[in-house]
């Protein structure tokens, strides 16, 4: 076995290396703080692997360009932040409806608008869920460490391929720019998933077939399948339709294809929850402050635990509810004015009151602030 060496690595670099390990061979994007390192690293590393990098003329170009590349069979990535992610929304909806595998890294910065390019925030939680128009499923993963930036980007690429869907990796500026000592797993130790490709003759190919898997096979452009891709409502053949019963069946398949696989998609972690009377629900860099708060408060004998959703969308609601047996109060610290706390409240409000701890001023939430909030509700 190859001897590994621990390295000091930045979160954004870990994302890029995770993507490459997962088989991403195409990146298109546009420079924007605080995500730019990902583009820079991809521009350097992709050619070495025979992959392609392109700096597009704008954010929309970055998103649409990777969708074109994905249709030729490539695993694709783009990365952006705040204003850039807003510009990409129409194309993310296209990817959802046309079911094109792709991964979008959003290194969240302070918003709205230009906001704070180098300031941390977690203000894009609801945008990731509902940013584009219309109903559609989405998967969003939220790393809390540099190591997770690597592993969750691998997971994101796998999910995109397996479920034919856009997948977000939601960093925040702290996670993206933080450096930690890490040893990444060797590529040979990773499970790498490739999209399902058709094995039928082209004449029988249905790119949006409704079967029990709910995930249709996807042919690479240029392999003779001659299929049609559109952002219009379409039937199993991929061609536009206005028939209500077909639109209904296809949209239900689209929604259900993620729900059906939630057991394998949902990731979370919990700390000290067995006897917890106060439960903190935190994610991303905020979860790191929460961990320290839990550890400090436990030394004082306060029964506090942490539930950390790693898959933010879909939200791991069953897992969260299973931790509520003794919980008398839930605290949701986040660097926004209460986005995920809405979801936590929806899931938990019949079990325990939910209090938010919100901070939106360019600074991170500290362990002391979390501890103070816990003491407040005691």
């Amino acid at each position: 076995m190859k001897k590994r060496k621990a390295r000091l690595v930045q979160g954004n670099r870990a994302c890029a290396e995770g993507a490459l390990a997962a088989g991403v061979r195409f990146f298109a994007g546009y420079p924007i703080t605080p995500s730019t390192e990902i583009a820079e690293i991809m521009s350097e590393e992709l050619p070495k692997l025979g992959g392609k990098f392109i700096q597009m003329e704008d954010e929309i170009g970055g998103m649409t360009c990777i969708l074109g590349a994905a249709l030729t069979g490539k695993k694709v990535l783009t990365a952006s932040s705040g204003p850039g992610i807003s510009l990409k929304q129409e194309a993310i909806g296209y990817a959802a409806l046309a079911e094109i595998p792709c991964v979008i890294v959003n290194v969240q910065r302070l918003g709205p608008s230009t906001g704070g390019p180098t300031s941390t925030a977690q203000g894009d939680i609801m945008q990731a869920r509902w940013g584009t128009h219309g109903d559609h499923p989405i998967i969003a993963l939220c790393p809390s460490s540099v190591y997770e930036c690597f592993t969750l980007t691998v997971t994101a690429v796998n999910y995109a391929e397996k479920y034919r869907t856009p997948v977000y990796v939601l960093l925040d500026e702290i996670i993206g720019h933080m450096r930690e000592k890490v040893e990444f797993p060797d590529i040979s130790e990773l499970e790498i998933i490739d999209r399902k490709r058709p094995d039928c003759p082209p004449v029988d190919y249905l790119p949006y077939k409704i079967d029990k898997t709910l995930i249709p096979a996807m042919a690479d452009f240029g392999t003779g399948y001659k299929w049609h891709v559109t952002g219009l409502m379409h039937d199993e053949t991929g061609f536009p339709t206005g028939k209500p019963e077909i639109i209904d069946a296809q949209l239900k398949r689209l929604m259900n294809k993620i729900e059906k696989y939630e057991d394998e998609i949902l990731l979370w972690e919990d700390i000290e929850t067995d006897d917890a009377e106060i439960l903190i629900v935190a994610y991303g860099s905020t979860a790191r402050s929460a961990v320290e708060a839990v550890e400090n408060l436990r030394t004082e004998g306060i029964k506090v635990g942490l539930f950390r959703p790693i898959t933010i969308w879909p939200f791991p609601e069953k897992a969260l509810r299973s931790k509520l047996e003794n919980v008398k109060h839930i605290i949701v610290p986040e660097m926004n004015y209460g986005q995920l706390s809405l979801e936590v409240e929806r899931v938990c409000k019949d079990k325990a009151p939910v209090s938010g701890l919100y901070k939106v001023n360019s600074l991170p939430l500290s362990p002391n602030e979390v501890m103070a909030k816990v003491r407040e509700v005691l």
Binding site: L71, G222, H228
Partner: protein, 273 residues
Amino acid sequence: MRPDLQHLFRMEKLPHIWCPGCGHGIITRAIAEAINESGIDLDKTVIVSGIGCSSRAPGYMNFDTLHTLHGRALAFATGVKLANPELNVFVITGDGDATAIGGNHFIHAARRNIDLTVILFNNNIYGMTGGQYSPLTPTGKMAATSPYGNPENNFDVAALAIAAGASFVARGTAFHDKLLVNSIKEGIKNKGFSLIEALSMCPTSYGRRNKMGSAADMIKHLKDNAVNVVTAQKLPPEKLEGKFLIGTLHYKPYREFTEEYDKLIARVQKEGK
């Protein structure tokens, strides 16, 4: 449909959605004919379009076809071509799609001189939304959003493409079908960004408002006002007033983006820089 072109169409999808007398059907057939005569691998051919009347064309054509978002056809196509340069990539776009909402992608795809064959169906109007003026609606012309005549200046899209870096630029019309087929064939042959501006007619949303008569009158207008670029060189300027040029307007092959990127990969893999 001519039997020799039927394999290039999804015959079961016809008749198409375009209005009676719309020039787009003629131009779409010309594209099929050019593909047929150029002998390219049909399995390795992708047709990409944006949104609008023109962008419905790929749905009728028997290839891998990609009907994208308004203005974004060239950015999607850039992804397709760069990811797999073996593919012959065509872009079908309209005047609004390419020069308004997609104007940025248009100039940058031309600047890269990426090997795409772009056929811009120019009917001078946003047809699908009911006849609003586009950047290619001539100044003074009537549209649903210019009821007093278009107060804006229009682009010369061929000049725009040349200035931005396209290596092949031609103009044809729905009337001059043979010239159009030849221009598209030349565009296919050119290893680089090729723009073929195909003048179409929209009797429903443009002709009607501008009192241009029937579809037949409009196609005759294209016939009567076009001057071949070769002929034009021998004519005095006053003879060209109010006319437009057709034929090959620009041909200057130079470094093509996907080839250059492949060279870059070879260099990096060999020398590490």
